[in-house]
Amino acid sequence: MKEGYQELLSSRSGFLPKTQAQALAALSEGLVDEAIFVWKAVNIHPVFEEPWDFNDIEVLLSKEDLDLGTTVLLMTIFERLIHDPDKEAALFAAESINAVERRFAKKTARLRAKVAASGAAEASREAITDLAAHLRDFGRVFFARPELKRFYLREALDVIGSLEDGAAQAETAAAGEKSIGAIAPLQIEVLLELGEHEEAAELIAAALALDPENPDLLFLAARARFLRRDWRGVATFLEAASAAGEDADRGCGEFATLRDFWTGGACRE
């Protein structure tokens, strides 16, 4: 393999890949030398570290199906960039925030249309759950803008409320299926995001009464305790969630890892 910086600047084809994936494709096609691939593959600057790499940010932003975590990460970057004294950087951030918002708004419109078109009760419940979950995510994305965050979370609650009574639906489902379904945990999550702790606690208690060993509910109960700074309660419910989810977890799954994070247990190693 040739080495030296000069080699990196002049590939045999004149083509210089911009991304790691492009470098791999170019190497396999024989368009670039190994040195260029290695250089591109190991020179990774994390997207969330300054100085910001606008190209990397754009590559991420251009992906329509971004997961929530990545979207929140990008929004964190944009929230800092809008205060940049460089007007172009600030404009880039503001336009990007608008682009994310428009993308979410378009999906909201699509999901609303799906709800309107869904006929049977089961299909309708599924469509409403999808829409409410999306609105919850919409609110989370605007973590830095309290008014907008509350707005989208309230919309999520309204959508859940359109199931006549979200909690009642959950109870009905529990009675028939021995499960509280998806809507009650979602409603609890939204209430917790909104800071409606009392209401969330009541709903958790009601849901746990129906399905006491549901690990998702127990985890939400732990989260609710955490938000109220009840550390002992956190440990208790995490322990219960871990035990309830043990079969699926094989002892070192999500809940067990979380429990061990708090207690310094085996799964952390």
């Binding site: 083509f15 170019a26 754009e58 809008i82 172009e88 404009l91 608008n98 918002e101 008014e147 707005f151």
Partner: protein
């Protein structure tokens, strides 16, 4: 130069704006045409689709209007001897670009006859085909040729549409942006030996770059290709135009950085009808009234305005807010904004007025807000000043300079909390604001009088038309 007693004729070349779309650029064009009645204007508009309805009544001195649709390949001449004449200068220009030297754009355009359509040429002439293959191999070898070809065709087809455009005869070709409008003006300059005047409100290539980067259907190297094409066109326009105007100094500097000769560049600020706006009789109302004059569209960031309203109302419940402007351009966004107002429970304090006579509002507003994420030189700030209403703005375009970089009236885009803080400061300092309002009014009269703007363009047109050969007057 027109013959004695003949009226000067200017061909305004416009892309995606006047007379089909309302907004800052279109209002400016209407002012220029209406304000210079001794000059004839011909319009050459470049549209995304045919049959759009006019949003402005054309003044009597608009003597001709031609419209072309980008992507409409009907009617262009193809093949024949003209094809042979065009190929050599096009290939030479590209060879120079590959060698990283400046292509001879004038020679290239001169080789492409007016009305001639180059789009199908790669399929007819082996030399064009080879050129595209070479570009694929050099610039994007990791992608299949078929993919590259169609990307190249879509990016360059619209350039060819602009280059074959046949604008009305005129003494000066005045493009109101770089891009396709600039190319049409440049082609007219080369083929008809008439001056090419370029006016930019924003920076065209920057605006297109932002659109491309946010677009979901242009990705990867295609995105880079489109951005390069637009940047290259702007550079060509800057280097070839006989006169270039910007609205403010910051943009003039950017034009020079991209190749415009400083001696050909001038700043001609936007202007307003000072008499009209300063005639407003202020009738202050009880409470504290805050307005935003603008279309209800995402670029104006009305949601941030609503968030500001909510925050201000917590400290000043007597305040009222008005979004003064058309709501029909983006109905979905308007609905979202209405739902946000409803959800924040400020419906009784926040009003979407729709399109209104702004003078009625300038009579009682205590403050204007501009929450836009992008602006050039916002007229509403000057209008408010002339009427006696101060402004707080986001740090966009020329707004910071207009507001003397005074942080009491500026905030970053989307920073609702800081904007709300500024609003409350203005509310708490009425005496200081009275003095600032007096200063603002004088500043509007001295620096942003439409009559000054019109006479500057009148002089520029006359000077350009008088020259024997093209160059700055």
């Amino acid at each position: 130069m027109p013959a004695v007693n003949e009226r000067l004729r200017i061909c305004l070349i416009l892309e995606g704006s006047y007379p089909y779309v309302t907004g800052g650029v279109s209002a400016w064009v209407q002012d220029i045409i209406g304000g210079l009645p001794h000059i004839d204007f011909a319009l050459f508009t470049i549209s995304p689709q045919a049959g759009q309805s006019l949003r402005y009544k054309l003044p009597a001195n608009v003597v001709e209007h031609r419209d072309i649709v980008l992507g409409d390949r009907e009617g262009g001449r193809k093949g024949g001897k003209e094809a042979e004449a065009s190929v050599v200068p096009v290939l030479e220009a590209h060879a120079r670009m590959f060698a990283k030297s400046e292509p001879d754009i004038e020679a290239m355009i001169a080789g492409i006859p007016e009305g001639y359509d180059l789009t199908d040429e790669p399929a007819r002439d082996r030399r064009y085909w080879r050129l595209i293959q070479t570009m694929n191999e050099v610039r994007n070898p990791a992608y299949p040729f078929a993919d590259y070809f169609w990307a190249w065709e879509s990016a360059h087809g619209m350039l060819f549409d602009a280059l074959r455009g046949s604008p009305p005869e005129a003494d000066i070709y005045h493009a109101i942006s770089t891009g396709f409008a600039g190319l049409v003006a440049l082609a007219a300059r080369v083929r008809r030996h008439k001056p090419f005047l370029l006016t930019e409100h924003g920076l065209y290539h920057k605006e297109r770059e932002i659109e491309i980067r946010k677009s979901s259907f242009i990705k990867g190297y295609q995105r880079d290709m489109w951005i390069k094409v637009y940047n290259r066109i702007s550079r060509i326009c800057y280097s070839e135009a006989d006169g270039i105007t910007a609205l403010f100094e910051e943009n003039r500097k950017k034009q020079i950085e991209l190749g415009a000769a400083p001696e050909r560049c001038a700043v001609i600020a936007n202007g307003i009808d000072i008499d009209r706006f300063s005639s407003v009789r202020r009738k202050q109302r009880p409470g504290f009234h805050v307005g935003l004059v603008g279309r209800v569209v995402p670029i104006k960031d009305i949601k941030t305005f609503i968030a500001v309203a909510k925050m201000v109302l917590e400290a000043a419940p007597e305040a009222r807010f008005y979004a003064i402007g058309p709501v029909d351009e983006d109905p979905e966004y308007h609905e979202e904004c209405q739902a946000l107002v409803e959800s924040l429970r400020i419906r009784d304090r926040f009003e979407f007025t729709g399109r209104q006579d702004v003078l009625e509002y300038y009579a009682f507003l205590d403050l204007m807000l501009l929450t836009s994420i992008r602006e050039a030189q916002p007229l509403v700030i000057m209008e408010g000043w002339a009427a006696g209403v101060p402004s707080i703005s986001t740090k966009v375009g020329n707004a910071p300079e207009m507001l003397d970089y005074d942080e009491r009236f500026l905030a970053p885009s989307k920073d609702a909390a800081l904007i709300a803080e500024r609003v409350l400061w203005v509310r708490a300092h009425p005496e200081e604001m009275a003095e600032i309002n007096r200063r603002n009014r004088s500043k509007a009269m001295a620096g942003y009088d439409k009559r000054n703007m019109l006479s500057a363009f009148d002089r520029l047109y006359t000077g350009l038309a008088r020259r024997d050969s093209v160059g700055v007057p």
